[in-house]
């Protein structure tokens, strides 16, 4: 995987279809990830020369139907298991209510800790310490880029903007947890906050626990 390959990864594809980036010759470890993490994982792989890790991504839109995540993970593990000595699931709980943790334990594979990507990007311990943030709505780099496909349209706000306050009326602020320092993304995130009628806060996180967890496999 080269820098050019990373650039070629299309967010819409990652949202809708996912991406199988495994090659003909399998590496030692398979990273089985949410499509929403593809850019970040590839960037970490490239920066650290982690060529012993392959990446395959499930469609990020599975998050719109969390009850489908566990089955999709199991299916992917079954498909790839024979080719790899280890599979590392790059999902947090992601709304599965503990079922993904139970499934990974049953399959004997590791997964990321934490409730969501916006938690492990900040660092699960730091995120959990924000007791005053129950009215915060979080976006990562991927979610900022895919805001319309992932949030605005599936919630029907493109067709029925009057529903906005039914969804977001109890929120007070949008927190953009940035993995990269990118002024264009920041401007986009500010626009999203405005559309949702929320205050805006910028918080640079980098790759947080994702980097630390992948480094353990180096």
């Amino acid at each position: 995987m080269t820098g050019n390959d990373i650039d070629l990864l299309d967010d819409t594809t990652l949202t809708e279809i996912g991406a199988d980036l495994t090659g003909a010759k399998p590496a030692q470890i398979l990273l089985l990830a949410c499509g929403a993490l593809a850019h970040e994982v590839l960037a970490l792989k490239a920066a650290n020369g982690w060529d012993h890790m392959d990446l395959t991504c499930l469609p990020a839109k599975l998050h719109l139907y969390p009850d489908k995540i566990v089955g999709a993970i199991e299916q992917a593990v079954t498909k790839h298991r024979a080719k790899y000595s280890e599979i590392f699931v790059l999902y947090a709980d992601c709304g599965t209510g503990g079922l993904l943790t139970a499934k990974c334990a049953e399959l004997g594979i590791e997964m990321l800790a934490g409730p969501h990507c916006y938690s492990f990007f900040e660092g699960n311990a730091n995120f959990a310490a924000h007791e005053d943030e129950i009215t915060a709505f979080y976006l990562t780099d991927f979610l900022v880029r895919q805001f319309d496909a992932f949030i605005w349209k599936p919630m029907g706000l493109d067709r029925h903007p009057e529903l906005r306050d039914m969804y977001f009326g109890n929120y007070t602020k949008l927190v953009y947890q940035a993995q990269l320092k990118d002024s264009k993304l920041e401007a986009l995130a500010q626009g999203h906050a405005k559309r949702l009628g929320l205050a805006y806060e910028y918080r640079f996180t980098g790759y947080g626990d994702l980097a630390r967890e992948l480094a353990r496999k180096a």
């Binding site: 709304g95 503990g98 129950i134 919630m155 029925h160």
Partner: protein
């Protein structure tokens, strides 16, 4: 559902046609049409309870089935709920005046640390539609809010909702406190929310997990019938 809404004059439909049209209009989230139809049926001498159950609740039941089956999605359900809410707004004071069967009393709220209330609000509406008196505690409720309301309202049922994996364990805090205070067996405890499941409900000691508003209503009715039978026996 219908493509020719503009050509239909609601007042010209007979009762059966109008009721079916209301099911369609609820499905399509047409608030004004629902309000107009409710007034028409009341004007024709329908009892408010009849309008509620035959037109609104039945219409939402159909919406609920199609939501469960993946034909409708959350935005459409919310629009339908808004339309039903508008109809209930007209009927509620009339129901109080004319009397309607009382199924039981429920206290409901989203747990501490959680501000999500769409599912809870749908359950509240459908429970009210089914004849339950519901005290809605809103969002972010600590254990004391639930316990005080259960006593104050002389409730039969406690409903707790959570959308977050991080907040759903709080349901166990509430149920454990009920056990400590010796009041657990006085109430039916129903739980719901996107990340919940049957196993979780059992693990925290709830009586039932309700995957959607329709299931919540059916579950509550079944528990009330059981309670009624055990009292009569």
């Amino acid at each position: 559902m219908s493509d020719d809404q503009d050509e239909i004059i609601l007042a010209e439909l007979d009762d059966e046609e109008l009721t079916l049209q209301m099911h369609d209009d609820l499905y399509d989230g047409l608030k004004e049409e629902i309000e107009e139809s409710v007034h028409i049926l009341l004007g024709r001498g329908w009892m408010p309870y009849e309008v509620l159950t035959k037109a609104l609740v039945e219409g939402m039941r159909i919406v609920g089935i199609d939501f469960r089956d993946g034909i409708l999605f959350v935005p459409e359900v919310l629009l339908a709920a808004n339309a039903m809410k508008a109809g209930m707004f007209i009927l509620k004071p009339l129901l109080a005046e004319t009397g309607a069967p009382r199924m039981g009393r429920m206290v409901i709220g989203t747990v501490k640390g959680d501000i999500h209330d769409i599912g809870k609000n749908l359950v509240t509406m459908m429970m009210e539609g089914a004849g339950f008196e519901v005290k809605d505690l809103g969002i972010n409720n600590p254990v004391d809010n639930y316990l005080e309301a259960l006593v104050a309202e002389d409730a039969d049922i406690l409903g707790m909702s959570a959308l977050l994996t991080t907040t759903m364990p709080y349901m166990k805090v509430v149920i454990d406190t009920m056990i400590e205070k010796g009041m657990r067996d006085d109430y039916v405890v129903m739980v719901g929310g996107a990340p919940l499941n049957e196993e979780f409900a059992k693990a925290v000691g709830a009586d039932a997990y309700c995957r959607d508003a329709a299931v919540a209503v059916e579950t509550a009715k079944a528990f009330m019938l059981k309670k009624h039978n055990s009292v009569s026996a």
